[in-house]
Structures are given as C-alpha cells and as structure tokens.
C-alpha cells in the first residue's frame, strides 16, 4: 500500500499546526539551552554551552525561548476558549474512563490475548497522556522558571528554600519532558510509522483505522471532522470573545512583560575593588 493510494482524513486545523511549530521551536531551544545547565559537570555540556556562546548568552536565549513558550501557552488557551465558547466544540482531549480500558485492551491485543485492537477516538490514550503531560510540564516549567527568574520577588512572599526547590523541580521536570518526547512522542509519530499530520493537517486511512477507528467510522458516516454546535448566538458570542480576548490578550502581554522585567535580581558587573598591595615592612627581616 503506497501513500498515494491512501485516502486522507482531516485531523489538525491550521491554528493547531501553527501552535505545534511554536511549541516545537521553543521546546527544542529550551531543551538545548537548559539541559546542558543540568549536566554542567560533563565536559560535553560545557562544550555545548561554549559552542552556543557561553553561559550568559545561553541563559539569555533560554529566557527568550521561555517567553515564546509562555506566549504559545497563552495562544493555546485562547484557541481552546474560542473553539469551546464560540464554535461550541467539545473538548475531545479530556480523559475518559474508556481511555483506561483502551490501555488495557491495547496491551492485551499487543500480547496476542485479544484478536481485535480497541477502537479509539480522535485522540487515543497515548495522545491524551502526552497532551496532559505537556500541560502539566509546561505549567511546572513556567511556574518554577518564573521563580528562578525572579527569586527576590518570590522570597518576599515565600521561604527562601522555594528557590532551590524550584530549581530542583525545573531541572527534573525538564528531564522528564525531554525523555517523554524522545521516547514516547518520537516512537509514536516517527518510529512505528511516519505521522506528519501535525504539519500537513491530514492523516492517511491506514493510520486512521489503526489508531482512531471510532473517528474514522464517524467521518465515513458523514460526520464533521471538527464537530461543533451551531449555536444561535454564535455571532454575538464571537463578538464578545474578541472583545474579551483582545482585552485579556493585551493585559496578559503586559503582565508577561512586567513579570519578566520588573526585578533586577543581581548586578551584572562586579564593582571594581582596588587595594594597595605593595606595603613593605618598615624594617626588613634579615
């Protein structure tokens, strides 16, 4: 079965694909500039940091990438809110009891204890785990990253040990995130088969059948790939959304700018200290 003969099914809309690019770029930059800081004791990490322009530059780049990630996260919330409030779409990414059953049946099927694989919806259990891991991870990283970025402000409110605790969490969570991406995400979209739908927007029939049988059957039965309620008040909801979104958007941009610039944690240049070093003894010891 060659690709050309496969029928393609819509899976991701443009907004989601843009979002993935933002996440991909910021995550990669954050990992490349962050992980060597975790493994500072290895010479490879030191070489990497020096290749990227030194620790000062690397930390600066890490912070800029963090801002991109935060903006991407805000974008995600706005997009989700729009789809849910204006278009009346269901949040199909939410975990359901069936996901646990799907895990159980998938394992049984994999081990040959069950003839047929479970029929899974648009987002199967693996994708849901990954999504919620990203949500959790990003939340942890943004929170702890913010604490590390503004330790003086944080310690106005919290005990001092929150800062090293945040560092521990930030560092460990980063490792978890990168390992999850490399092991779970890469296996599922690159290794077991190539799944380019997050770039192209469409998934071929065989992959639809294998991983999203329920969604496949629903679309084949004439269902809308992105089903929403045609709400009567959609127009007014749209207007209200944009007014609120614009206001919240501007406010959150201001908040992001303020939060990331209001504290001068440390002076950047050490003050020069001079002292007289040549102070000979009045009488020299023979």
């Amino acid at each position: 079965m060659s690709k050309e003969t496969q029928k393609m099914y819509p899976r991701f809309r443009m907004w989601a694909r843009i979002e993935h690019i933002i996440l991909l770029v910021s995550f990669t930059v954050l990992a490349l500039t962050g992980l060597p800081q975790r493994y500072f004791e290895s010479s490879f990490a030191v070489d990497m940091i020096n290749a990227m322009g030194g620790i000062t530059t690397v930390r600066l780049v890490h912070r800029y990438a963090a801002i991109v990630l935060v903006l991407g996260s805000v974008y995600h919330l706005f997009l989700g809110a729009y789809r849910w409030y204006v278009k009346g779409e269901r949040m199909r990414i939410m975990l359901r009891p069936k996901d646990a059953v799907d895990i159980y049946e998938t394992v049984k099927h994999n081990l040959g204890l069950q003839e047929e694989p479970p029929k899974m919806p648009k987002f199967n259990f693996g994708e849901k785990i990954e999504y919620w891991a990203v949500i959790w991870g990003t939340a942890v990283m943004i929170m702890t990253g913010f604490m590390l970025w503004n330790p003086i402000a944080i310690t106005q409110l919290f005990p001092g040990q929150f800062i090293p605790a945040a560092k521990t969490a930030h560092s460990a969570e980063a490792l978890l995130a990168v390992l999850s991406i490399v092991i779970w995400h890469f296996y599922n979209v690159l290794v077991k088969h190539r799944n380019w739908s997050i770039f192209t927007g469409n998934l071929p029939e065989n992959q639809m059948k294998e991983e999203h049988m329920l969604e496949y059957e629903r679309i084949e039965a004439g269902g809308d790939p992105y089903p929403g309620l045609s709400l009567k008040a959609q127009k007014s909801r749209k207007r209200a959304y944009f007014i609120v979104a614009t206001a919240v958007g501007i406010l959150s941009l201001m908040a992001i700018y303020w939060l990331f610039t209001f504290e001068e944690t440390a002076i950047t240049t050490l003050p020069a200290v001079t002292r007289e070093v040549f102070v000979p003894l009045a009488t020299s010891v023979p």
């Binding site: 940091i49 106005q156 001092g160 040990q161 521990t168 460990a172 296996y187």
Partner: protein
C-alpha cells in the same frame, strides 16, 4: 817571528779565549731564553727582537765599555747554534758591578747595581720556567737604550711606582691592587713587598713566615686582613688566576661595614657573610660545587669598575639576571608572573629572585619552616599578611607550624604568580579551595565536611562558575565564589565568633543583589544537602521526581515494547500469508 808578531799573536789568543769564555759563561747562565719569551710573553717579543739592533753607536761609548759591549753583541748575533738569547747581556755587564747611583730631584739616591745571582734565583730569573730579560720590565719608564735617558721620576717612590706598573702587564689581577694603588697618597706597589730583582715565587710566599710580612704591615696600617690562613689563600689565588675563588673576594667583602654608593646617593652594603654564604643553597650544599663569587658577579675585576647603574634597586634588578644562568625555567616563569609584568611596566618595586630568595644567603629549600614563605611575602605585602596571619589558615601555619594549611604560594603559585584580579582567577578560585576542601583524606583529620565544594557547585552560583568560560566571556563571573562570603585572606573558621557568616549573610547577598531580603538569603543552603530535617521541600520535590521519572519511563517503555512485539508477530504472519 818577530816580537811585534809575537805580541799580536798572544793578544789574538787572549782575545779569542776571552770571547770563548764570555760566550761559554753566558751560555751557562742564560739557557733557552728568547724562545720562552716569545711564546710566554708575546707582548714582549717585539721588544726582545728589536733591542739588539738598537745597540748604541760605538763612537759614543766610553773606552772600556766599548770593547765589552762589542764582544757581547757579536757573541749574540754570531751565536751559531741558534740558542735563544736575551739581549740583556749588555745591561748585565754594566749593572753587575758598578757604584753608579741615580740621584733623584728629591735628593734620594738609588744604586743601579743589580745582584745578578739574586736575579738568577728569582722567579723571573734564569732558573725560572719563563725567564725575563731586563728590558721586559724596564720598558715603561723610557725606551731603554744606551746611554740611558734621564730618569723622570722625582723621587724614589715615584720611580718605584712607575716601575711597578710594568708588573701588571703580566699579572692581570694581582692582589697588589687591593693595596693603595699608584694614585694613593702613600702607594703600596708590587715592589714594596716583592722587591724588584729578587721576586720570589708564590710557593715561596705561601708560608706562614713569608706571610708574616704581610700581616705585620697590615697590623701596622690598621688593616683588618691579618688572618694568616686567609692571606695564604689569597696568595694562592691571586696570581695569574683566571677566575678568583670566593675567598679572594671575601678577603675584602667579609669586612663589616663595607658600602658602595650609587650615583643617586643610595648606599648599599657590600659586606658578605662568608659563613652565611657557605651555608646557603649555593654554598657547600650546592648540587655540584660551591658557587664562586664570580659565577654570578661575572666580569668583575679588581679594582672594580665604577658602577654606572643609577640606584641600588636598579643594581639589584640588573644583578638578578645572573640567576637565569642556572635557573632558566623559574626565571622565565617569574617573567610571566604578576611581578614580572609589573617590572616590565617599570615598577622597580616588583619582586625579583633575590627579593624572596636572598642574594648571598639563599636558604636551602625545605630547611626553613613553612611560615618562612609567608614571611617572605610579608616583606612587601605586609597588610595582606596581617590579615592572613589572623585567619584560620594563618593562625595554624604561624602558630602551630601546620603543614596542611595553605601559605601564600599554595594559592598564588610560586614563580608564575598570576594576577589574582583576572576573570580566570575568579572563575577558578572555587577549584583552588576544593583542592584541599574536597580532599576527603585531608579534611577528615580536621573534621571538615568535604561536601562544601559539591554543595556549592550544586547551587546556582557554583553551577554558573563551573560553566563559566572566562576566556569566552572575557569578564569575571558575577556569581559569588567562596571568598565573597568567607573572605580572601581573612578566612575564619565558620564557628569562629568573628566569622559572622550567618549574621553577615544578607549583607553579603546584597553586595550583588541590592534588593535581597532575609528570606532571599535563606535560598542559600549553607552547604547543607537537602534532607527531611534540612530543607524538606527541596528534599521532597527531589524525591517526587525520583519516583515519577522512572515510573513514567517504565510505563512508556512497556507500552512501546508490547507494540513492537505485536508488530514483529504481524510481520511474520504477513510473510507466512505471502508464502502460502
């Protein structure tokens, strides 16, 4: 044969016999002279060769002299065997038996008679290895010819001084020049002690009886060099010596109170303590041979040339280059050091080798207590030394002669002392402290935790410093290093009541974090590892991830493994299906 013929024959026989007798006599008395003069005293050869040709015109000669001179001259030029001859036979003929005297302007008189026997027995005489001719010495006053020119010296002493100048033509650095020289009010010249024609060998002088002449005179003149043994060494080394040994120099330079004045008015002691030198690293303990003064003070002669170096300090710096001769490696290191750089910048106060090691009393390495090293640095860096002396390290070193605590050079280096204000110095400083403080074996003895370095590096500041590429950044890391909190030279033990580490912590933080609060200071864990007792939040966060990360990974890998297992099975089924 008539009477006249008989007389003539008889006269002829007598003349011939006389001539033979003279030739024979001279032959016996003066063997192989000319050759020796040419080889040993090349500077005199020209004189020796030209002198016979300058024999005076016979017309002016006194009657009785004329005959003898002519015969002597003929004997010399007709010498058939080629035996070397000095041309001074003529001199000796007159000066051996005469009552003539030179009368000086001063009224003093000097007999011109020479005791030929004494001359022959002298160190310059015919029995010597390298005999001299009269004109070898009597050259400088005037060109000796017959008849002699008027003596120019106004008195006997003046004459002796002039004549003695000729000794220095062969005896390059005779010890005589230690004595008041020709220009002195009361000069002591070679001939004052050695005599003129009866000069004796140094072997003859090398006896206590001979030297007594010297000591007597010294005692009379109030010269302190009266030790017979020292004097004898001097005599042994003072003649023809290419390189004088140290005792030669020390004969003068061991006298206390000797000074040298520089053009700028600096007065420097030039007295050397011979015992201190002998005990020094360059003395009896030197690895191959005891150094001699001239090994370092090369090209020194006596009398010394006038010092043109402006000041005593400049002299020290110039002399210091002598160290490079043997200690190239350390010398070059010192040039690269902060001291070398300062010197290059024109700072004459910058330490050179001898400032730390001493010049003539260089101690043998390891002989001195370790504290001596810090005391050496104290000479110039007294305020820093005072801080160090009160520190936990300094007290142990100076008070208890502790062998483990660092002294100045343990941190700063020895010869290649680097600038401690550079980015590199700051960035590397924690590793420097860690050399001891992360050394389990060393720290156990003092019950000091070796966690201090690891816990520092685990902290943001330490991580930053560990990652800080000072060469790349070009600036020193602005995160705190050990000494920002503990002090540089004044490091106290943490439990020392004067350490005030905890009390000063916020203040310390505020040096770099102007808005730091007490809470903020608590984010530094004080070199503790997080545990349930100390910093439980950090401990629990860490524990959480220690559990979550492996569990997550195990779940992922389990799912992937079962998936791969199914795919392999399915591939096998497809192949079977295709084969059937």
């Amino acid at each position: 044969m008539n009477r006249e013929k008989q007389v003539r024959f008889g006269f002829g026989v007598i003349a011939t016999l006389s001539l033979l007798a003279v030739v024979l006599g001279l032959f016996v008395l003066s063997p192989a002279r000319l050759v020796a003069e040419e080889t040993v005293h090349p500077e005199l050869a020209e004189v020796a060769v030209s002198q016979p040709a300058a024999l005076p015109n016979s017309a002016n000669l006194p009657e009785n002299v004329d005959f003898m001179l002519r015969m002597a001259y003929q004997a010399q030029v007709q010498e058939p065997t080629g035996h070397p001859q000095t041309g001074d036979m003529a001199c000796k003929m007159c000066h051996s038996d005469t009552d003539a005297e030179v009368e000086f302007e001063s009224g003093e008189t000097m007999p011109v008679q020479v005791d030929l026997a004494a001359l022959a027995m002298s160190v310059h005489g015919e029995s010597a290895e390298n005999p001299l001719a009269c004109y070898d010495c009597h050259i400088t006053i005037n060109d000796y010819q017959y008849p002699h020119e008027e003596v120019t010296a106004v008195n006997l002493q003046d004459y002796q001084v002039q004549t003695a100048a000729t000794c220095e033509r062969c005896h390059n650095r005779p010890h005589i020049t230690n004595h008041p020289g020709q220009d002195a009010a009361i000069p002591v010249t070679c001939t004052s002690c050695h005599g003129s024609h009866e000069v004796q060998s140094k072997e003859t002088w090398d006896s206590d009886e001979a030297v007594k002449a010297c000591t007597d005179c010294h005692q009379q003149a109030g010269v302190e060099l009266t030790d017979t043994e020292q004097m004898r060494t001097l005599i042994r080394n003072g003649l023809f010596a290419d390189e004088t040994d140290s005792d030669y120099c020390l004969a003068c330079h061991s006298q206390p109170g000797l000074t040298m004045t520089f053009p700028n008015g600096d007065v420097k002691s030039v007295t050397v303590d011979p015992e201190a030198f002998h005990a020094s690293a360059h003395g009896a303990n030197n690895s191959w041979d005891e150094l001699q003064c001239t090994d370092c003070h090369t090209d020194y002669q006596y009398p010394h040339e006038e010092i043109t170096i402006e000041s005593a300090r400049e002299f020290t710096i110039v002399m210091n280059q002598a160290c490079e001769e043997c200690h190239v490696q350390y010398f070059e290191k010192s040039l690269d050091s902060v001291h070398g750089a300062a010197l290059l910048d024109g700072n004459l106060d910058a330490a050179v080798c001898t400032d730390c090691h001493g010049a003539h009393d260089t101690p043998v390495l390891g002989d001195e207590p370790r504290a001596a090293i810090s005391h050496t640095c104290e000479q110039c860096h007294s305020t820093i030394y005072n801080e160090y002396a009160e520190s936990v390290h300094g007290e142990a070193l100076i008070g208890d002669d502790n062998q483990d605590v660092p002294n100045c050079i343990d941190c700063h280096g020895v010869h290649d002392i680097h600038d401690p204000t550079t980015a590199a110095a700051r960035a590397r400083s924690p590793e420097l402290c860690a050399e001891c403080h992360a050394n389990e074996e060393l720290m156990t003895e003092y019950d000091i935790s070796t966690d201090v370095f690891d816990t520092y590096v685990a902290d943001f500041h330490g991580t930053t410093v560990a990652l800080f590429d000072y060469e790349h950044e070009g600036v020193p890391p602005n995160t705190a290093v050990c000494y920002d909190c503990h002090g540089v030279h004044s490091i106290k033990a943490p439990d020392d009541p004067h350490a005030n580490l905890q009390e000063n912590l916020v203040e310390n933080c505020q040096q770099c974090h102007p808005d730091a609060s007490a809470n903020f200071a608590d984010s530094w864990l004080g070199h503790y590892r997080p545990s349930l007792e100390n910093f439980p939040i950090i401990y629990l966060v860490n524990l959480f991830y220690l559990i979550v990360i492996p569990f997550t990974l195990v779940f992922f890998i389990f799912m992937i493994a079962t998936d791969i297992y199914r795919r392999i099975r399915e591939r096998g089924h497809k192949k079977e299906a295709a084969n059937e």
